[in-house]
């Protein structure tokens, strides 16, 4: 779509288990900043079934307007249904910016919509700001070992996906006034070519919630084998944290993919990130370098992880980690 008359910053509000995903709320926070810089309104778009209650949340988190598309065909996410509804809305209202969380479904939906609208889309942005001169949104993201800042100068809306934990979730204000607009956009059953037949919850019996963990103990190639992750688990348990892994460890099948931290895994921002036997490839750093404190334990004094570690120990993790666990257990038990 062309840029003429496009106005307002939109956030696609992803709903899961009848709740708004954190990343969407975080995007309402940054969307507010962008909308204020542009002097435009912030709009949250909610698509689902029985979701009227969520519109108030959208406004409490900073939007002027919540657009709600409700219908039984939107009970579950489907590429066809959601792409149809979202493109129809964009064509009707012509927003200038559209932000989408880089979740599995967000990354399924965003390219499909951008393709249909023939507009640009920037994946996994780590910063979004408005250039005060040309009023274009500048999208920054990691590109190999560099960072790149891109713009989408000629087409609209300017679109980007953002992972969770990149922006801060704003504090909600339930006294904020806002407008709720119900839009009736149907999608014919025949036009939805996918159907969810089964949902299988994580089998391990524990959910891996790395994105929200305050302490992460991560292991890499230096762990030497899957059995050795037990010592990381022990340390993580004492600290009330979770276990992460580098791509090398996941590729070697030592840990399930859900634990992977880095560019092709999860982006995390814990208070303490403890990297054990992780060399610190740029792809790994991309997923954890905004942690408050980075601790590294590695045999190789030249390992790049030491360049970003607040505290590094050059040594054998198989000696250091059990000692750490022992020490923390002693502290914990007073």
């Amino acid at each position: 779509m062309g840029r003429e008359n496009s106005k307002n910053v939109w956030v696609f509000i992803e709903v899961y288990d009848n709740k708004i995903r954190n990343v969407s709320l975080e995007l309402l926070g940054q969307g507010r900043v962008i909308a204020d810089q542009l002097g435009e309104k912030l709009v949250g778009v909610v698509i689902g079934d029985n979701i009227a209650g969520l519109a108030n949340e959208v406004i409490a988190y900073g939007a002027e307007t919540a657009i709600v598309v409700s219908g039984n065909e939107y009970k579950d996410y489907s590429t066809d249904g959601f792409a149809n509804a979202l493109t129809a809305l964009v064509k009707k209202y012509a927003p200038s910016v559209l932000l989408i969380g880089a979740t599995r479904n967000g990354k399924d939906l965003a390219p499909r919509v951008a393709g249909r609208l023939e507009t640009g889309l920037i994946a996994d942005c780590t910063d979004i700001e408005v250039n005060s001169e040309d009023r274009l949104v500048e999208w920054t993201k990691p590109a190999g070992n560099m960072m790149s800042t891109s713009i989408c100068p000629d087409s609209s809306p300017q679109m980007g996906t953002v992972r969770s934990n990149v922006f801060k979730k704003p504090a909600p204000d339930y006294n904020r006034a806002g407008e709720i607009v119900a839009e009736d956009i149907g999608t014919k059953a025949d036009d939805i070519r996918t159907k969810i037949v089964e949902i299988i919850k994580t089998v391990q019996g524990e959910t891996v919630n790395l994105e929200e963990a305050e302490i992460i103990v991560s292991g890499g190639r230096g762990m030497k084998g899957p059995e050795n992750f037990a010592i990381l688990k022990e340390l993580a348990d004492i600290l009330g944290g979770s276990v992460g892994a580098s791509r090398a460890a996941v590729d070697a099948d030592w840990m399930p993919y859900a634990h992977q931290v880095g560019q092709t895994g999860k982006t995390v921002k814990p208070k303490i990130y403890l990297a054990c036997g992780i060399s610190g490839a740029i792809q790994h750093l991309a997923g954890m370098s905004s942690s408050d404190l980075i601790i590294a334990i590695n045999k190789d004094p030249e390992a790049p992880i030491f360049n970003v570690a607040d505290f590094g120990i050059v040594g054998d993790l198989f000696e250091v980690v059990p000692l750490l666990t022992k020490e923390f257990r002693r502290i914990k038990n007073g």
Binding site: P111, L121, F328
Partner: protein, 262 residues
């Protein structure tokens, strides 16, 4: 069943060396490999062919040396390999790249199932697959860890953020493939030899009837890169070297208590 697998040649991340003085990566010496997720896609395609018959075609878009990636796919068991190569295709964003691939796919044939890796490990956008699906007007499923045939549909096990979904997708469909439980098969030696002699079609922009050159490459890109810069350096802090594990652990615990982190 006609299956198309689209692959991309990428630099091998293992071969990329880190220059600790400039804190940057040295890519120059890196060997090129088939994008790992694309190899999982090819493995799935070959398994489907073995079970249900049909033909597996592999298409790549890239510079002339991308032929090596195609030969590896042939050696793994692909029936046909096709290279789309033209300087007009270069430097595109995902919108322009998906347009070029869409045109090349139209030229290559009709397919029941088109498989992509869920993302290429160089750009990591995960956008080209869905955008090709959009241009072809077919159904899509992303991040598959398994595919089974069910009449005119496929059953796809899909990796979700906090669970796994099984979804039914009407064919023709485009499915992007994540890491599988099994590793991709090794190339077969005889096929490796044959791959070196194979004549493979090379599609250039001129071969694609009705293609709109203004929609290709840099010209056809909606996204323009404004600047590249080195990531903000997070300075190194304390580094304990040549100490006993006991002393190192004590120093770390002191550090964490002083920082009020624990």
């Amino acid at each position: 069943m006609n299956i198309l697998v689209c692959v991309k040649q990428v630099p091998d991340p293992v071969e990329i060396k880190f220059n600790s003085e400039t804190a940057s990566l040295i890519r120059a010496c890196a060997a090129n490999i088939v994008n790992p997720f694309d190899k999982y896609a090819l493995e799935l395609a070959l398994q489907l062919k073995e079970k249900h018959g049909g033909e597996v075609t592999v298409l790549t878009m890239g510079p002339p040396q991308a032929v090596d990636a195609l030969k590896e796919c042939y050696a793994m068991g692909a029936d046909k390999i096709v290279l789309a190569s033209d300087s007009l295709f270069e430097g595109g964003d995902t919108l322009a790249t998906s347009y070029a691939l869409f045109c090349a796919i139209k030229k290559t044939g009709e397919f029941d199932l088109i498989l992509y890796g869920k993302q290429a490990i160089d750009g990591n956008t995960a956008q080209v697959g869905p955008q090709v699906a959009e241009r072809l007007g077919v159904a899509q499923a992303t991040c598959a860890t398994g595919i089974e045939l069910a009449d005119d549909k496929v059953l796809v096990a899909r990796e979700q953020d906090d669970c796994q979904e099984i979804i039914e997708v009407k064919m023709p469909a485009l499915v992007t493939v994540a890491k599988l439980a099994v590793e991709p098969r090794n190339p077969n030696i005889r096929r490796k030899i044959a791959a070196n002699k194979i004549e493979m079609p090379v599609i250039s922009a001129a071969d694609l009837e009705g293609i709109d050159a203004a929609r290709l490459g840099l010209t056809g890109s909606a996204v323009k890169v404004k600047k590249m810069f080195a990531p903000p350096v997070r300075g190194a802090g304390i580094k304990i070297e040549n100490e006993t594990a006991d002393n190192a652990v004590k120093a770390l615990v002191d550090y964490l208590s002083n920082a009020k982190a624990i």
